[in-house]
């Protein structure tokens, strides 16, 4: 899909985010998560954000969703549009049942109590939790939690869907089902930002990819090209690490 003729939904303009950790472990206690990152997100596209753990991918999504504000720079979203984060287990309250957690999540995303209640049956069905849906989430396995998290988030309708690593967990059967549901959303013209460190998944689902490292954009462009470059760099890094180990 060509994205150039679509309008910009959201853009980051030289966005930096840093915070004081209170402990002098980083640069005078200041931890820089993102450093002058600029990017545009177009209507209807599926943008992938790649990078290793701790390079600022989740922070970027949180900035887009308005959960955090940049220390410097600007986050501009088209007026009237809303971005929401689809992520594992929407901050579950462990002592509440899956049903209560799903209800709360839907309401926090803006559904009324009546709307949220009508979602519950489809959430129970899609997540395949069965009787466990009414058991406290603290008794859930990691797979069950991710199923509930994905399904709950899937029910919410937003202009920009921000997806954080949700497709990488759960058993093979559910993972396939989740990917299918995600694809349907994408085909339906949903604007999606998709965060992952799994190159093949990103290449399969995204039109365009941003490669993030140490809070900066290393490369961005065609999904296949960027994911290939990223995978190559990961292999390269592993080789260097192995060589260093041998030399020691």
């Amino acid at each position: 899909m060509s994205v150039s003729n679509h309008q910009v939904m959201l853009s980051l303009d030289k966005v930096s985010l840093s915070y004081h950790t209170g402990r002098k472990t980083f640069d005078h206690g200041v931890h820089r998560v993102l450093d002058e990152v600029s990017m545009d997100l177009y209507e209807g596209e599926t943008l992938g954000i790649m990078g290793r753990n701790g390079v600022g991918k989740t922070t970027m999504l949180r900035l887009m969703a308005g959960i955090l504000a940049p220390t410097r720079g600007k986050v501009v979203i088209q007026p009237g549009k809303k971005a929401a984060l689809l992520s594992l287990g929407l901050g579950f309250k462990p002592e509440l049942s899956g049903r209560d957690n799903a209800l709360l999540a839907a309401m926090l995303q803006g559904s009324s109590l009546e709307q949220a209640t009508t979602f519950l049956d489809s959430i129970a069905e899609f997540s395949e939790l069965g009787e466990s849906f009414d058991a406290p989430v603290k008794n859930y396995s990691a797979g069950m939690r991710s199923r509930l998290g994905f399904t709950t988030a899937l029910m919410t309708h937003v202009d920009i869907l921000l997806v954080d690593e949700v497709l990488s967990v759960g058993d093979a059967h559910f993972r396939g089902k989740a990917q299918e549901a995600m694809k349907n959303r994408i085909m339906g013209g949903q604007t999606v930002v998709f965060v992952s460190h799994m190159a093949d998944q990103v290449a399969k689902l995204c039109n365009r990819v941003i490669w993030l490292d140490q809070g900066k954009i290393v490369d961005q462009g065609d999904a296949v090209e960027v994911t290939d470059a990223y995978s190559a760099s990961v292999v390269e890094e592993r080789k260097i690490a192995a060589a260093k180990k041998l030399l020691r």
Partner: protein, 287 residues
């Protein structure tokens, strides 16, 4: 034309007000009715979860404050031999209202940090977290007050017209809880070290608010007056006793002044927490 307030008109007025007061307010839009619904739903869920955790379930709502009273009664009446007439009623009125305040504020203080998971996932008004905890406390306190009234009636205290003063008194008490809860929640989100300080502050208040001693029996009227003026909680506890035990209306100007003060503080905190919503989120996530 007659102005008819509609659903959401309060929020609209509020939004206009806040946009005048603070330029570039950027917060998630949530209708006021949705906000109230969420507070209620979150509080009910927490209560249900709490009840299923314990064998005695909902009984703990009244059992816990009563045990508090029992402990105090044992110490001050049995061991120290307090000569206050009707000491148990005196103690119940003071202690049960103090527990409402102390528990609500302490729990509200840690509410944003405790909801870190949610805070990192969704941009909601940060007042939602302390408010739902305070609402939870309000539901519990309703049953505690019922129990207190039954005990009062059972021990021969009549319901009089003076009891009407309980309405403004409870309202001011509630505003005080909300104001202190909001301040506590912000302080703990920013610097965790405030959490033990707040707990300590509650113990300080417990000893200085006249829960197990009578603020009017200090022997020095000047001291009594000073304490009632300086410690709003002492004033409120005394007002409950005046109404329920002595059929005496509270000092209304003082009460209204407290109400206005805490009301203004609540408004100010709501505006500040909207303005610095993302900052609070960052602090809760990273500190």
């Amino acid at each position: 034309m007659v102005f008819i307030p509609q659903a959401g008109s309060f929020t609209r007025v509020f939004d206009t007000l806040s946009s005048i007061l603070i330029i570039n307010v950027d917060y998630s839009l949530m209708p006021f009715s949705q906000y109230l619904r969420l507070i209620d739903v979150m509080a009910r869920m927490a209560l249900r979860a709490d009840a299923t955790k314990f064998f005695l379930g909902y009984i703990w709502w009244v059992l816990e404050p009563l045990l508090f009273v029992a402990v105090f009664y044992f110490v001050f009446s049995v061991i120290l031999g307090s000569r206050e007439p009707d000491f148990i009623i005196f103690l119940m009125v003071g202690k049960l209202t103090y527990v409402w305040f102390a528990k609500s504020v302490t729990q509200a203080s840690t509410s944003i940090v405790a909801s870190k998971g949610l805070v990192g996932q969704i941009d909601v008004p940060k007042t939602l977290f302390p408010m739902s905890v305070i609402q939870e406390g309000l539901y519990k306190q309703a049953s505690v007050f019922m129990l207190l009234f039954i005990v009062l009636l059972g021990t021969g205290y009549p319901i009089t017209a003076t009891w009407w003063y309980l309405i403004p008194l409870m309202l001011v008490n509630y505003l005080m809880i909300v104001a202190c809860g909001f301040i506590g929640a912000c302080l703990v989100s920013m610097v965790r070290d405030f959490q033990p300080l707040i707990t300590l502050g509650m113990i300080f208040l417990m000893f200085t608010s006249g829960i197990f001693w009578d603020i009017r029996e200090l022997g020095d009227p000047h001291k009594t007056e000073l304490l009632l003026a300086a410690n709003p909680l002492a004033f409120l506890l005394d007002a409950y006793r005046q109404i329920l035990m002595h059929e005496t209306p509270p000092d209304m100007p003082h009460l209204l002044m407290l109400g206005a003060g805490f009301g203004a503080l609540v408004c100010l905190m709501v505006l500040a927490m909207r303005r610095y919503s993302q900052f609070l989120a960052l602090k809760a996530l990273t500190a």
